[in-house]
């Protein structure tokens, strides 16, 4: 009883294409479609919503063939990137719209609709805003109205297109927590599109990483982080330092030292990647020699940039009480990764 997307292919002139995309969303699951622009994530969302039709493949939901239903019969709640609020209607009327347009015999009574709107306004914490118009709301408030409107039809599936794209950083973080809470309260299966890896990893139960219309990897956030399957996923999920080395027997050999490697590549010449926080910086010992270019605070960490002799710059992160804290700009140091990744 879940959403099953099977080998969907779609070619397009003005949207990104998709090639044999398959994934599954289990009931109550919170799925992120993550990818850079042009990866096809929005196209995929539009196909789920019924706003476009695939060239081939199937989409089923709770055993039902979704492709035979048009957008208005799928009963999905869609939150658009622009929110698409009805500008001439009050917040309350916006939320009630999906109920008001039902055929007379399926439509709840006026009192029921009113009660439903009240409870949704409560849920999105806009109790006193029912009589306002969209133009009188802030971006974050509009976003919440759009969500309440989508939830009003008791959707079987909730789809969100870049839900935080148009908001500033502070509101973003706030709404993220809040969206997660709403999801946990309502339990509706949710798929959302984002290009922000932090957002995807922070919110989703599982993340589908897309690139050029194909799926790179599907997995839980930690799994993606610890076991990225491709270089693209590794690079996309966070800053990646690169070094050339030789792989043999599970460790990577560099100039005079070796480091344990997580690898899908065959033994031989590799491009090794490592994260800023999976490295040590010290004045002496094995590692890549370089000069400290900058030292900046990055939240609970210190962020260093170390310039190597060949012009490469490594970014590293360390605790405030580590050896790195004693360094100054211009110091000669060595960067030693604690773990590197290599991809076949």
């Amino acid at each position: 009883m879940s959403l099953i997307v099977n080998t969907i292919t779609k070619s397009f002139t003005n949207f990104a294409a998709l090639h044999e995309v398959s994934f599954e969303a289990r009931p109550r699951e919170f799925i992120a479609l993550l990818g850079p622009s042009g990866s096809g994530k929005t196209t995929l969302l539009r196909l789920l919503a019924g706003l476009d039709t695939p060239d081939s493949g199937s989409i089923t939901f709770e055993g039902e063939d979704f492709l035979r239903l048009n957008a208005r019969d799928r009963r999905i709640g869609m939150v658009f990137q622009s929110y698409a609020l009805f500008r001439h209607m009050t917040v309350a009327d916006n939320i009630a719209f999906g109920l008001n347009v039902r055929a007379a015999k399926e439509r709840p009574s006026k009192a029921e609709i009113k009660a439903k709107v009240e409870s949704l306004l409560d849920l999105v914490q806009l109790q006193d805003f029912g009589k306002r118009y969209p133009s009188q709301l802030s971006g974050g408030q509009r976003q919440r109205v759009a969500l309440a409107r989508a939830l009003a039809i008791s959707p079987r599936l909730l789809l969100l297109d870049e839900p935080f794209g148009a908001l500033d950083a502070l509101v973003r973080k706030d709404l993220r927590r809040w969206l997660r809470r709403i999801h946990d309260e309502t339990g509706v299966t949710t798929v959302f599109v984002t290009h922000d890896q932090e957002e995807a990893l922070d919110l989703a139960d599982r993340v589908v990483v897309l690139k050029d219309g194909e799926i790179e990897q599907i997995g839980e956030p930690l799994e993606l982080y610890r076991q990225p399957k491709t270089a693209f996923v590794f690079d996309f999920l966070g800053h990646a330092n690169q070094a050339q080395g030789m792989l043999s027997g599970g460790s990577a050999q560099f100039d005079g030292f070796s480091v344990p490697a997580v690898s899908s590549a065959a033994d031989g010449q590799i491009t090794a990647r490592f994260r800023p926080f999976e490295s040590h910086v010290s004045k002496t010992g094995p590692g890549f020699p370089g000069k400290v270019l900058s030292i900046l605070p990055a939240g609970s960490n210190l962020r260093l940039e170390v310039g190597l002799s060949d012009g490469i710059v490594y970014e590293t992160q360390h605790a405030h009480d580590s050896e790195a804290a004693t360094l100054r700009i211009g110091d000669d140091v060595v960067v030693l990764p604690t773990k590197v990744y290599a991809f076949g």
């Binding site: 019924g50 869609m78 658009f80 009805f86 500008r87 719209f97 999906g98 347009v101 009003a152 039809i153």
Partner: protein, 281 residues
């Protein structure tokens, strides 16, 4: 981006430009308006009222209203329909459709009348058939309506298309995902968003429909009391040197034009955001 605010003219050049603009507008626009009123009331109120009390003039007023009452709704429905299909869907040949839609703006009103004679006149394509079946189109109401419809065809569509393009389809698509059907989408979401632009287009269309001269003149046959609209009645009266009567009729149409301008200005001022940004007349 910030644009420059208007300020009171301070330099000689500023005064000169302002004065010459006002002078020119007086010569070309204000004085003709004044002439209509002074000529109409040259003999005082009594001759003015007497001139309007003429049965032919009253018939002309009635016919003018009737022609507009038929033509404007037709073009309003067409305007909404064409704006819907042009702004809400992608299809081949859209550019061609837009070009054809704009044609009446570039075709002489006289030609807009002539084409109906060529179709339905005695020597026209369908002239023989019409005569055999005793149907009158040209030199009768249907012909005048057709000529008016052709001349005023783009007005409503041209108001709606830029606005609906600007507004995009997001709201309507959202309505569909919320379960709205066919006309529900239009009446609940689209119409409330375009109502002022629609009214604006209808206003311009009506003004032109009531004032149209060339096209209607060609197809009317100038039958007094039967196929004369108010603009045609003005021509006849003027050519017969019944100056007061001619300008009395003209004063009615001038009043109409001024009311149109006032409504238009009010609409533009009050609902600027809900009218199309770029306007072509």
């Amino acid at each position: 981006m910030r644009s420059r605010p208007a300020e009171t003219p301070k330099t000689v050049a500023g005064f000169g430009l302002t004065a010459s603009a006002i002078l020119w507008m007086d010569l070309i626009i204000v004085l003709p308006l004044a002439v209509v009123l002074t000529e109409a009331f040259k003999g005082g109120l009594a001759p003015y009222l007497a001139a309007l009390d003429d049965p032919d003039t009253i018939a002309a007023i009635q016919l003018t209203l009737l022609v507009a009452a038929i033509s404007v709704p037709l073009n309003a429905v067409f305007g909404i329909g064409s704006a819907w299909c042009i702004t809400r869907f992608e299809f081949k040949g859209k550019g061609l459709l837009l070009t054809i839609l704009d044609l009446p703006f570039t075709i002489s009103p006289v030609i807009c009348g002539l084409v109906w004679i060529l179709l339905f006149g005695t020597q026209g394509w369908f002239g023989g058939w019409l005569r055999d079946h005793d149907v009158k189109i040209v030199f009768a109401l249907p012909g005048m309506v057709l000529a008016t419809v052709l001349v005023t065809l783009p007005f409503v569509a041209r108001e709606l298309i830029p606005l609906m393009t600007d507004q995009g389809t997001d709201e309507e698509v959202a309505a569909v995902t919320l379960g709205a059907r066919g006309w529900d989408v239009f009446f609940r979401v689209t119409l409330p968003n375009i109502k002022w632009a629609l009214l604006y287009g209808v206003l311009l269309c009506t003004a032109r429909a009531m004032g149209e001269f060339g096209a209607v003149s060609v197809v009317s046959g100038h039958i007094r009391g039967l196929t004369n609209t108010l603009p045609l009645q003005i021509e006849i009266l003027y050519n017969q040197y019944e100056t007061i009567a001619a300008f009395a009729c003209a004063s009615i149409l001038t009043g109409l034009a001024i009311v149109t301008l006032i409504l238009k200005t009010v609409l533009e001022w009050r609902f600027a955001g809900e009218l199309a940004a770029h306007r072509r007349h």
